[in-house]
């Protein structure tokens, strides 16, 4: 005789505290065990790929802010790198350094959100996420200093960045960098060593490296499974080849390891930023300042339109969530012919069903939290 219970369908989302936006998991439960899982997405679909086909290359930069709205800088960067690859523009050196600074700050900010929210998914009542927001706010202040916007930065330009950072940026960044390592120590002690977080996330959602690679996972998901792969090292863009940093990998491939890798990468970002502050040269920040409409500060702005030769390019960078790629096909016109975003959040969801089946509802939330999705990037 065996217990027969009725399967029970629960919709986690689209409005749910732990789906990080409008993501919906349709779970079929047997008691608390998940026997089937499906995801329903598209609630935030804005059809950016279609919209981008009707806008000029520069006009598309703001869209890239709004894909991964937690990491707008890296979205910008991936796009401009792809276009630069297509038309062979080489940005000036200072611009490359600024790009690295911004994307590392963005990585720190994004990872701090991911880590805090993951702890939230493990059931803390907002405390880690609030502390993480504190650090993120300071980084957003720096962004505001550099480009006037905090969240949707629209900072990178094809051929450089939109403007140089103001003189007060450097001391502010210095001050932040002096503070962050101490905070990081706190977070590592309080979150990584937390018995309940260990109990909740270790051994949950295990991905072997074979599965991770086969599922095209990238970023902390891949590194959490123990594959030392980081596009910043593998295919250094901007000035990453001049910087010294380590790839952070986990050894168990579970939710805890993905969380661990993010925390370790935050430390690496601090390390990279330290080096950037020392090594960043002076100079122009844009390669072709031509039709300059002088701005109030006397700085000329980047050109608004650009002619791109016919062809195609796939530019990839290591965004906080993984391999962010832009596949751009140009027919020589003012707008891209095809504009495809390879969004890591979306593809990282590939093994979600397999990870969720057999887990409990509580585990499913932890697993989803460890994937670190941004719905704007999933749906685009």
């Amino acid at each position: 005789m065996s217990m027969k219970t009725e399967p029970f369908v629960v919709n986690i989302g689209p409005q749910h505290p732990s789906t990080h936006g409008v993501f919906r998991m349709r779970l079929t439960l047997d008691g608390e065990r998940i026997i089937d899982a499906d995801m329903v997405i598209g609630y935030l679909h804005r059809s950016m790929e279609k919209l981008a086909e009707e806008r000029s290359y520069t006009q598309n930069i703001p869209f890239t802010d709004r894909t991964d709205y937690v990491a707008a800088m890296t979205g910008n960067l991936a796009y401009v790198l792809a276009v630069e690859k297509l038309c062979g523009i080489e940005p000036p050196e200072r611009a490359s350094w600024l790009r690295v600074i911004m994307s590392e700050l963005q990585r720190f900010a994004s990872h701090s959100m991911a880590v805090g929210v993951f702890a939230n998914d493990c059931g803390t009542w907002q405390t880690p996420v609030m502390h993480m927001f504190r650090e993120r706010e300071k980084i957003l202040d720096l962004f505001e200093m550099a480009c006037g916007a905090r969240l949707t930065t629209n900072y990178m330009r094809i051929g450089g960045v939109s403007r140089d950072v103001p003189p007060e940026f450097r001391p502010a960044l210095r001050k932040l960098l002096d503070e962050l390592p101490m905070r990081m120590g706190e977070y590592e002690d309080l979150l990584l060593e937390n018995e309940i977080i260990v109990a909740r996330s270790r051994g949950i959602g295990v991905l072997t490296p074979e599965v991770a690679i086969n599922c095209s996972l990238s970023g902390p998901m891949l590194r959490g499974s123990g594959v030392a792969w980081d596009i910043r090292k593998a295919d250094p863009y901007c000035v990453y080849d001049k910087l010294e940093f380590d790839i952070c990998v986990g050894t168990d491939g579970d939710a805890y390891d993905r969380f661990l890798v993010r925390l370790a990468e935050m430390r690496q970002s601090i390390h990279i930023l330290e080096q950037c502050l020392e090594m960043m040269p002076e100079g122009p920040v844009h390669s072709q300042i031509t039709t300059a409409t002088a701005q109030p500060g006397g700085q000329p702005s980047a050109p608004l339109t650009i002619r791109v030769p016919a062809g195609e390019a796939y530019g990839r960078i290591e965004s906080p969530r993984g391999e962010l790629g832009f596949y751009i096909v140009s027919d020589g016109g003012p707008a891209p012919y095809r504009f495809h975003i390879r969004s890591p959040s979306y593809i990282n969801l590939t093994p979600l069903r397999e990870l969720a089946i057999g887990a409990t509802v509580a585990d499913a939330i932890v697993i989803l939290g460890s994937i670190d999705i941004v719905v704007g990037e999933i749906d685009r």
């Binding site: 029970f8 608390e32 493990c122 502390h131 030392a228 887990a359 409990t360 509802v361 585990d363």
Partner: protein
């Protein structure tokens, strides 16, 4: 205790009540009038005190957790945001209490009402001070356990009646947790009863006062177990599994809004106070404090202890993550209960030795305290080592830093398998 027994002696509020009752008695009338009046006074006093404390603690909790979370907390309504709880209460009163169409309406209505009962009724047996208890029952401890178990029925009813899947999951979890932790609660209190030799709460306080000790000094394990079990019973973090916000939205009260939600919100505080009151009475010496009660009103001592214990619940809420339901239940069945069995055996033996040998308490009690503390620490540490630190898959670790691109570092600590590992 040398009480003045004048009505203005605030060290025992019973004096004032007694004076008032005498006055009524002097007016004449049937015998039961003073009896009923004294009961009513007690009920009204407890209710008023609960309401005021609750309003105060809404503010305190929000401010304290605000500080813990590196933010300010409510500071707009009134000075330092002091009127925030009143604003909250008004908001809850004015909001529409939506009943979903397929809810089981009588039960949906009954849930929030029923959830108040255990939290309030428990206070009937709590001695707030010398002689200051509404009904000092013979079987006080048992009464407390019995009444708090009703809590989960209220939770179940509201979860089921909501006709909401999250609510149903929440109530399923609540019932499962109740079954696991009721025994723990009973066993934790059993040790206290064995020592004090009475189930009357007043006697237990008197026992602690007589031997100049607090029960938790003698039975630390019981206190810890009771605190954990009551945190489960009243759904406070880290055991707020039946209303786990990040998993099942709000658990059993997902569908409740307006004042019906306000009932749950208030009952959460009341239950918290009730549990703190039990902890204070049984483990922390109640309204006595090593002779301090001669100078300071006993009820003040009691209340300050109660608030301190309640603060503990706020503190854990601000800091700890949440366990999974199977881990929590395994913790009860596979750990706490076993430890408590050992504890009860040891405590029983101690009491037997004490009474048979007729040793003086001054000699015996410190020895017992040392034995019990050693036992508690050894058991907990032993279990933690055995279940946690000796097992690599339970240990915290740090990321591997490498420069070697494309290499694989996959070496799972806890064997293979993709399934989640329960608390084995």
């Amino acid at each position: 205790m040398p009480f003045l027994a004048k009505w203005y002696d605030l060290r025992d509020l019973g004096n004032a009540v007694g004076a008032f009752l005498d006055w009524i008695r002097d007016l004449g009338g049937p015998d039961w009038i003073p009896y009923v009046v004294s009961g009513l006074i007690g009920i009204v006093a407890i209710l008023l005190w609960l309401l005021v404390s609750q309003l105060a603690f809404i503010w305190i909790e929000r401010r304290v957790i605000g500080r813990m979370q590196a933010r300010i907390g409510p500071n707009r309504v009134g000075p330092w945001g002091l009127l925030q709880p009143i604003a909250d209460a008004l908001k809850l009163l004015l909001k529409e209490a939506i009943t979903n169409r397929y809810a089981d309406k009588p039960l949906f209505w009954l849930g929030p009402v029923l959830i108040f009962i255990p939290a309030l009724v428990v206070f009937a047996v709590i001695p707030f001070g010398e002689g200051m208890s509404l009904a000092d029952l013979n079987v006080g401890v048992l009464f407390v356990i019995a009444i708090t178990s009703i809590n989960s029925i209220a939770i179940f009813i509201s979860g089921w009646a909501s006709n909401n899947k999250f609510a149903l999951l929440g109530s399923m979890r609540a019932i499962a947790m109740l079954i696991s932790y009721e025994l723990v609660q009973a066993f934790a209190l059993l040790g206290v009863v064995i020592f004090a030799g009475s189930m009357r709460l007043g006697d237990i306080v008197a026992w602690q006062s007589e031997f100049n000790t607090w029960m938790f000094l003698l039975q630390p394990l019981a206190l810890v177990a009771f605190l954990i079990a009551s945190a489960v019973e009243i759904n406070r973090s880290p055991m707020d599994i039946s209303e786990a916000e990040s998993e099942i939205v709000a658990g059993y009260h997902t569908e409740y809004s307006g004042i019906k939600f306000g009932f749950f919100y208030a009952a959460e505080y009341f239950a918290g106070f009730a549990v703190s009151a039990i902890v204070v009475t049984l483990f922390l010496g109640g309204w006595t404090a090593f002779g301090l009660e001669r100078w300071v009103p006993g009820w003040l001592i009691f209340l300050s202890k109660l608030y301190l214990v309640f603060f503990l619940f706020i503190w854990t809420r601000g800091t700890l993550p949440r366990l999974r339901i199977d881990q929590l239940m395994a913790f009860s069945w596979k750990f706490l209960l076993e430890l408590l069995f050992i504890h009860i055996l040891v405590v029983g033996a101690e009491v037997l030795i004490w009474h048979e040998g007729d040793y003086p308490a001054v000699v015996v009690l410190p020895i017992f305290a040392v034995i019990n503390w050693t036992l508690a620490v050894a058991l907990v540490v032993g279990w933690a080592t055995f279940m946690g630190h000796l097992r690599p898959e339970r240990r915290a670790k740090r990321a591997v830093l490498t420069q070697e691109l494309g290499a694989t570092y996959f070496r799972p600590a806890g064997g293979h398998g993709t399934g989640p590992m329960g608390e084995a």
